[in-house]
């Protein structure tokens, strides 16, 4: 077993040259679960984009079915107390989930990553102020921080996005700071400095691009976590406000009719779980593909 993995590394590093992209593709697509996750995500994107055409009924209009109808041919997942078609609401919910996930990751990354690079690159009071503030934010459980922020801001998609961005921002700052600290010890950074490159140029042109692969993996995994957190907030009634279709809120609505209409709660639950699982798997696959040494260990 020991020999085998050593050989693998030597093989990976040895010529003949294989294009980076081909190697990436080979590792990425070599695991079934990763491909499964990718397919689920593609279906999800497709659903979210074409929700208007895919949804059989209007997800917001009450009375398209009987109240609390059982699953049938016309309404494959039944309907909720107001007679809204569950499948249609599920399809529209994918938009909410993806929107919250992607915008929050983007906002948190665009603030957290520069903060981390700066904190890792500059020592002294700036570093202390940034990192200790991030440490303080990390002391709050993510869900609690998002909960408090969302309630302070008052719910709704926009405020949930802000709350989740603030709650996940310190994670990026900390990881980026650690990466910067190790990257700045490299000789090529020293060479760059010797040539008289400014701090800003070194950070933007050399530290950031090299810190990117692990950050992409982190962001992909975070997407799942964010969608989960959004569902948690909406489940507690503090996140997305009705009538917007949100999976978390649907779980909560259906929970009261668990015994008679289990599909009402289970359908959005399964959707959430599939999506979170897929983002995790794709993130896992990306990590393997970007850093082959970790293969099979994590």
């Amino acid at each position: 077993m020991v020999r085998e993995s050593n050989n693998l590394i030597e093989f990976e590093e040895a010529p003949p040259r294989v294009s980076e992209w081909r190697r990436f593709r080979r590792v990425f697509f070599s695991r079934g679960v990763v491909v499964f996750g990718l397919v689920v995500l593609l279906v999800l994107f497709f659903t979210a984009i074409f929700a208007t055409w895919l949804a059989p009924y209007d997800p917001y209009k009450p009375g398209t079915a009987e109240s609390l109808a059982q699953p049938s041919l016309e309404h494959p997942l039944g309907s909720d107390i107001l007679g809204r078609d569950t499948l249609s609401r599920l399809i529209y919910g994918s938009r909410t989930a993806l929107m919250v996930g992607f915008i929050s990751v983007f906002v948190a990354g665009i603030i957290g990553i520069p903060l981390g690079v700066i904190a890792g690159f500059v020592s002294g009071i700036t570093n202390i102020l940034i990192m200790r503030t991030m440490d303080a934010l990390l002391c709050f459980p993510m869900l609690i921080l998002a909960l408090v922020m969302a309630s302070v801001l008052g719910g709704g998609i926009q405020n949930v996005i802000i709350a989740l961005s603030i709650a996940t921002l310190p994670g990026y700052a900390r990881v980026t700071c650690g990466l910067t600290l190790s990257l700045r010890e490299n000789d090529y950074i020293l060479a760059e400095r010797a040539m008289g490159s400014s701090n800003l140029r070194t950070m933007l042109g050399h530290i950031l691009p090299n810190a990117f692969p692990p950050l992409i993996v982190l962001m992909t995994m975070q997407l799942g976590g964010l969608i989960l957190a959004e569902a948690g907030l909406s489940f507690l009634g503090i996140g997305i406000k009705p009538p917007d279709a949100a999976w978390g809120a649907m779980v909560n609505d259906g929970y009261n009719y668990l015994k008679t209409n289990p599909a009402l709660s289970f359908a959005p639950c399964i959707a959430i779980m599939l999506v979170v699982f897929s983002f995790n798997m794709v993130g896992d696959g990306l990590r393997d593909a970007l850093d082959p040494r970790l293969r099979g260990l994590l």
């Binding site: 077993m1 020991v2 993995s5 679960v33 202390i128 200790r132 503030t133 440490d135 303080a136 934010l137 002391c139 709050f140 459980p141 993510m142 869900l143 609690i144 909960l147 408090v148 922020m149 309630s151 302070v152 008052g154 799942g224 989960l228 569902a231 948690g232 489940f235 507690l236 009634g237 503090i238 978390g248 779980v251 929970y255 668990l258 015994k259 289990p262 709660s265 289970f266 639950c269 399964i270 959430i272 779980m273 979170v276 699982f277 995790n280 798997m281 099979g296 260990l297 994590l298």
Partner: protein, 319 residues
């Protein structure tokens, strides 16, 4: 080492000050005047003369400048006084003293279950890598870290509570009152809370175990002719536990965060449920206090983990 501990303590103190600033000022950004909300809930707002509103404001200390309010709040915490809940008309300290033991009871059980089962599962998966034990455990841990807590809770309630009728679906009883009832009520919430930590611990344990069994000293142990049990238990396991301990520190945060969901679903009168009801009722004194205490617990746990890390792994240098 001593220098490191002292420096780490000063650092923690600095972080603690920032935590109090965050908790206090974020909560005060709340939309709406807590007094008006309070008045509107308890009595008719129209019937209340403005002087009485001002009087109430003075009673809760909300008429003073915000910096004075902050200092009053912080000094109050040091005296163990978290203020008075606007809704319960009770000292928040007393409220939390009633609720925290419930959350701690469930949380500690969940952490123990997660740690013991997680470490064992990860160990088994690592030493039987590629065999059927690994092929079962590893995919299950993937599901464990991705399943939403509320899905697991609802699934268990549906299956064991509603369909099979084996377990009660909500409530909490103190184990000192009725141990059997208490245990039955705790099975589902504890399992829901434990599952993420269990899966995460198992994954971490598996990967660090695989790392450790490739080390030279483990090979030496094998070549000395020691039995598998001795090699694994005495040599490999100890060192692979180190990264798992960091994870257990994170587990405390997961349990506190998860308590909000689990206690709401199972109607458990713990601190998570108090948190949700206080947020919905805009009882900011309670929210402030709970958020602060949770952050404090995590801060202390992280401190302990960081310090014990150096003690467990002497290779770590403190520069």
């Amino acid at each position: 080492m001593t220098t490191y501990i002292i420096r780490r303590l000063i650092q923690a103190l600095f972080v603690l000050i920032i935590v109090t600033l965050i908790v206090f000022f974020v909560m005060r950004l709340l939309p709406g005047d807590p007094i008006i909300i309070y008045v509107a809930q308890t009595a008719q707002l129209e019937a209340m003369p403005p002087e009485m509103v001002d009087e109430l404001r003075a009673k809760f200390g909300l008429d003073k400048p915000i910096m004075v309010q902050y200092f009053n709040w912080v000094t109050g915490i040091f005296r163990g006084d978290f203020g008075t809940s606007i809704f319960y008309h009770e000292n928040v300290g007393t409220l939390m003293a009633e609720r925290f033991p419930v959350t701690a009871h469930i949380g500690v059980l969940a952490l123990v279950v997660g740690a013991v089962l997680g470490v064992l599962a990860g160990l088994l998966a690592a030493i039987r890598r590629g065999k059927w034990a690994d092929k079962v455990i590893t995919p299950v841990t993937y599901i464990g870290i991705t399943i939403p807590v509320f899905f697991l809770a609802i699934l268990m309630i549906y299956l064991f509570g509603l369909i099979l009728g084996w377990l009660p679906i909500y409530g909490y009883t103190s184990p000192f009152d009725d141990l059997w009832k208490s245990t039955r009520q705790l099975v589902m919430p504890v399992f829901c809370m434990a599952v993420f930590g269990l899966a995460a611990n198992a994954r971490q344990m598996r990967s660090s175990m695989l790392e450790v069994i490739r080390q030279d000293y483990v090979r030496t142990a094998w070549s000395k002719g020691l039995s598998e049990r001795k090699v694994i238990m005495r040599h490999a396991m100890k060192n692979s536990l180190i990264p798992v301990i960091t994870l257990m520190g994170l587990g405390v945060g997961m349990v506190l965060g998860g308590s909000v969901l689990v206690e709401t679903i199972f109607a458990i009168p713990g601190v998570g449920r108090l948190m949700v009801s206080s947020i919905l009722g805009q009882d900011y004194v309670v929210v402030q206090a709970i958020t602060f205490v949770m952050a404090l617990i995590i801060l202390v746990v992280n401190l302990i983990v960081d310090i014990s890390y150096g003690w467990l792994d002497p290779r770590i240098r403190y520069g």
